[in-house]
């Protein structure tokens, strides 16, 4: 969606080069390096799962540690298959950690939603439409939200509407939705991106400004 910077970056540091040499070496040296790398990945996966434990109190400790081991194994496989993709723009361990964190996060999200229905329809449309009970509701926001709701109904394709409503309105994790729809996070985010672009364009054409609603609060996602 945008071009990446071509800023000059140094090559790998000595420790990162050592990792690469060991993981590309033949025989026992590679096996030993793989074992040490898996230990690091397991530590990263446990770190991630511990961060999320509070959000998923119904997941049991044993299950979570199983997920950590699965995440470490999957991350190790991914890393060994993508060693040539490491360009030395960060420490090797930082590069490797992101694979373990991603695997762990996706596994926890999917486990937490296992057996749950994913709401794709705007059945929770009342989140937008049913705000009349707020005494502090401002006319500006009221009109904007109503217009967004109408534009979601009229301007988006059925697929765009389902994905945007599920992820942005119903808080379905994008990885969970991707699994259910047999697609990828990236493909779904592209759908969301295109839907948002349509909505913004429609609002602009209708002369409805939305920056004024956003800017004063500078909301950040938690």
């Amino acid at each position: 969606m945008s071009e990446r910077s071509e800023a000059r970056v140094p090559g790998p540091d000595s420790e990162s080069r050592a990792w690469l040499l060991s993981l590309r070496a033949p025989g026992p040296r590679r096996e030993e390096a793989s074992r040490r790398l898996r230990d690091l990945l397991l530590r990263a996966a446990r770190f991630e799962i511990n961060r999320r434990r509070g959000s998923h109190p119904h997941l049991r400790g044993g299950d979570l540690d199983d997920l950590a081991h699965q995440a470490a194994n999957d991350a190790l496989l991914a890393i060994l298959g993508k060693l040539d993709g490491y360009r030395g723009e960060s420490r090797f361990t930082t590069w490797a950690y992101k694979f373990a964190l991603l695997e762990a996060a996706v596994k926890v999200r999917r486990r937490a939603w296992q057996g749950r229905e994913v709401p794709l329809e705007p059945e929770h449309w009342s989140v937008i439409a049913g705000r009349e009970d707020s005494p502090a509701r401002e006319a500006e926001s009221h009109e904007l939200l109503d217009s967004i709701g109408a534009a979601i109904e009229t301007e988006l394709t059925a697929h765009q509407r389902e994905v945007l409503v599920a992820v942005a309105l119903n808080d379905v994790p994008i990885d969970v939705l991707a699994e259910r729809l047999n697609t990828t996070r990236g493909a779904l985010y592209k759908t969301i991106h295109d839907a948002r672009k349509k909505l913004r364009s429609h609002l602009a054409d209708a002369g409805l400004g939305f920056e004024a609603v956003l800017e004063p609060t500078r909301v950040t996602e938690s």
């Binding site: 071009e3 990446r4 361990t93 930082t94 992101k98 964190l101 989140v127 985010y189 956003l214 996602e221």
Partner: protein, 86 residues
């Protein structure tokens, strides 16, 4: 609603309309995430070095969670270096 109505509405508008301007894709974000985090922790202008990353993290909560986790992990590790057999 747990926050003021206006703040809650702003959050909702932001989730529905997403960030303004160009942004990276999820794949590009993952590709650059390790570099971005190290630049951040080094006090460099990571956003300027990797245009579109900040906007994507604003618009994609899953990638933003990955970003926060990697940053927290690397930060927790501090300057301690992992062992290698070099």
């Amino acid at each position: 609603m747990s926050e003021t109505p206006r703040r809650d509405q702003a959050r909702l508008v932001k989730r529905l309309l997403g960030p303004a301007g160009p942004e990276l894709s999820c794949e590009e974000c993952f590709e650059q995430l390790d570099r971005y985090v190290e630049l951040e922790l080094a006090g460099a202008d990571a956003g300027a070095a990797i245009p579109g990353m900040g906007a994507h993290l604003e618009g994609c909560s899953a990638c933003d969670e990955d970003h926060r986790s990697l940053r927290a992990l690397v930060e927790a590790e501090g300057t301690s270096s992992p062992q290698t057999d070099a």
